[in-house]
């Protein structure tokens, strides 16, 4: 990293985040079938967007992919999110969502939860309220997708 960047910038733009921004994981499209759900979210104020696809079988995220366009925070967060959630049960995924949202709103205990894995590198975002919604965009899509999947199974 750099000599010029201030400490908050160094905390915000960690190598791990920049790496996920430049080399997003699970980027692409799933072949659609009866077990896939897809959600498209947009942040109208800044134009960031994410299209998230889940393949859910027996209440478990068997596969997850996204396409997106936006800032380093929104795109790194969704990339990290996919790596953590692949193979997880929906209840676990809801739990990760709650912990991550808590961390974004400054909950330090949530930020220590090992279940968040790499996502903990985004803890610095909580100091930048205008960027919190960037970090949460992927989770917004995730929650919608999981709800859609559950209601389909029940319906």
């Amino acid at each position: 990293m750099t000599d010029r960047a201030t400490p908050p910038m160094k905390a915000l733009y960690q190598q791990l985040i920049l790496d996920h921004y430049r080399n997003p994981r699970n980027r692409g499209e799933l072949e659609e079938d009866g077990s896939t759900v897809e959600i498209h979210v947009r942040n109208p104020t800044c134009g960031d967007e994410i299209r998230l696809q889940l393949r859910v079988e027996e209440d478990r995220i068997q596969d997850i992919k996204f396409l997106g366009d936006g800032c380093s925070i929104s795109q790194a967060a969704v990339s990290m999110m996919t790596t953590i959630l692949k193979g997880k049960e929906l209840d676990e995924a809801f739990g990760v969502t709650r912990r991550f949202t808590g961390m974004m709103h400054g909950d330090e205990e949530a930020a220590r939860d090992p279940a968040l894995g790499n996502l903990r590198s985004l803890a610095g975002v909580s100091r930048f309220p205008v960027r919190v919604k960037c970090a949460l965009l992927g989770f917004e899509a995730l929650q919608e997708a999981m709800k859609k999947s559950r209601s389909r199974e029940e319906g």
Binding site: M1, T2, D3, R4, A5, T6, P8, M9, L12, Y13, L18, R22, T45, C46, G47, D48, E49, D69, G70, C71, S72, I73, F128, R131, C134
Partner: protein, 438 residues
């Protein structure tokens, strides 16, 4: 103050003697004494994130000189009362100052009839007023509204809503690769004889382009259409004289030109306003009220329902006096000097893409750009960490973003109080962005 209705000329070291200089053609006048101007703007003298503030988000809103802040405060301290209502001394003063402000706007615009100056909340409300009050009764299916791809959403959405109500069709002037309107299409569009109104911006907030509004107006009017100019940026950054533009409606906001938020103006030709229905109903806009109907007040009150933004009008008039004393041509020339310096520095940085006219003389003080591999939001966050305020996003101009195939740009926008040293701070902080993002 002996008489609340009269104002001493703006007394600022920056402006000493400048009133007698009058307007200067082509920006050839002496350069601004920017340090003296900066002394007039209290907000500029602060640190942000440990560095002196560099405010380069002027296209979003401008800062206010102390004279404007004091005019508003003075009104509330000494003269506040409702206008046109009380028979008491304070109401007399308040009314006099409010109407005096209207006169300041009229003479600054170069129009003789203050009855043609309608106070609004801003440019957005002024445009909506025309789309409603003129549009609803003058447009029908098959008529056309001419817009451009350069417009701010404020000068698009009200027309889309009008088109949906009336069945009118929207036509667009397109942009060339440099962010200039392609006028070659205009004769073909106008040939059909269906364009009833053209709504175009004088200056683009997204790219800074100075549009040839007088030329467009000449052609549209020759084919029997009316012309509305969105002057939200133009009033702040370009010289404005309505008679030279040859247009029918002019809309602008106070806050972009050193005035307060929540006040703006619609200027329109009297015969058009006379023929238009009111925009909103309420107090102050009526003549007689009966159980089943009412009659309307004369101009401009017919369009000013309810208690207006009195202090806002007074503050805007003070801002106009201030800017007028500096001189619009000199301000524009100053902005163009800063644009030239910025463009030159950015052109030398690898991976930077500049949007808008290549010739700084074709733009007001706006530089929109992207940086390869770095999203505009990240640029704005890093700049802010070093005290440099810019805007990142679509700038309420999604058609412009679409035209150039980007979701967002970073935008630095200048005003009379910005300095070359601040341009250098911007460039230096872009270096930090480069270091972080590689």
């Amino acid at each position: 103050m002996a008489s609340p209705a009269t104002h001493p000329p703006t007394d600022s070291p920056a402006l000493a003697g400048s009133q007698s200089l009058g307007p200067r053609p082509g920006g050839s006048g002496p350069e601004l004494d920017v340090e003296a101007i900066r002394a007039d703007f209290p907000i500029l003298h602060q640190e942000v994130n440990g560095r002196p503030l560099v405010y380069l988000d002027n296209a979003a809103t401008s800062q206010k000189p102390a004279v404007v802040v004091e005019a508003i405060e003075g009104f509330y301290r000494r003269d506040n009362a409702n206008v046109h209502r009380g028979l008491h001394e304070l109401s007399r003063r308040s009314t006099e100052r409010y109407e005096g402000a209207r006169g300041v706007v009229a003479s600054w615009l170069g129009v003789e009839d203050p009855g043609e100056v309608i106070w609004t909340r801003g440019a957005t409300e002024a445009i909506n007023l025309v789309a409603r009050s003129w549009g609803d009764s003058h447009l029908r299916e098959g008529d056309e509204i001419l817009l451009t791809d350069l417009e701010h959403h404020s000068n698009l959405v009200p027309w889309q809503m009008l088109a949906a109500r009336t069945g009118a069709r929207l036509r667009y002037l397109e942009l060339d690769d440099e962010g200039e309107l392609i006028l070659d299409d205009l004769p073909r569009i106008l040939e059909g004889g269906r364009v009833r109104i053209a709504a175009i911006s004088q200056v683009s907030n997204a790219l800074g382009t100075l549009n040839p509004v007088a030329e467009i107006a000449r052609q549209v009017k020759a084919h029997g259409g009316l012309v509305l100019v969105d002057g939200a940026q133009g009033a702040a950054h370009a010289p404005v004289r309505i008679p030279d533009l040859g247009i029918d409606f002019y809309a602008f906001s106070g806050h972009k030109m050193c005035g307060p938020t929540g006040v703006g103006v619609l200027w329109a030709r009297r015969e058009l306003l006379e023929a238009m229905e009111p925009f909103q109903g309420g107090g102050d806009m009526i003549d007689e009220v009966h159980r089943d109907h009412s009659t309307w007040a004369q101009l401009p009150y017919k369009f000013e329902a309810g208690t207006p933004n009195i202090s806002g009008a007074i503050g805007l008039a003070e801002a106009i006096r201030y800017l007028n004393a500096v001189g619009a041509e000199r301000i524009l020339a100053h902005e163009q000097r800063l644009v030239r310096r910025t463009m030159k520095a950015l052109e030398a940085m690898p991976g930077i893409r500049l949007f808008g006219p290549g010739d700084p003389a074709h733009r007001a003080g706006v530089v929109s750009f992207t940086m390869e591999g770095t999203h505009p939001h990240d640029i704005a966050t890093i700049l802010d960490s070093e005290g440099v305020a810019i805007r990142a996003g679509h700038h309420c101009a999604q058609l412009v973003m679409k035209r150039y195939g980007v979701a967002a740009t970073a935008r630095a926008s200048f005003y009379l109080y910005n300095t070359e040293a601040e341009v250098d701070r911007l460039v230096e902080s872009l270096g930090t962005v480069r270091e972080i993002f590689g």
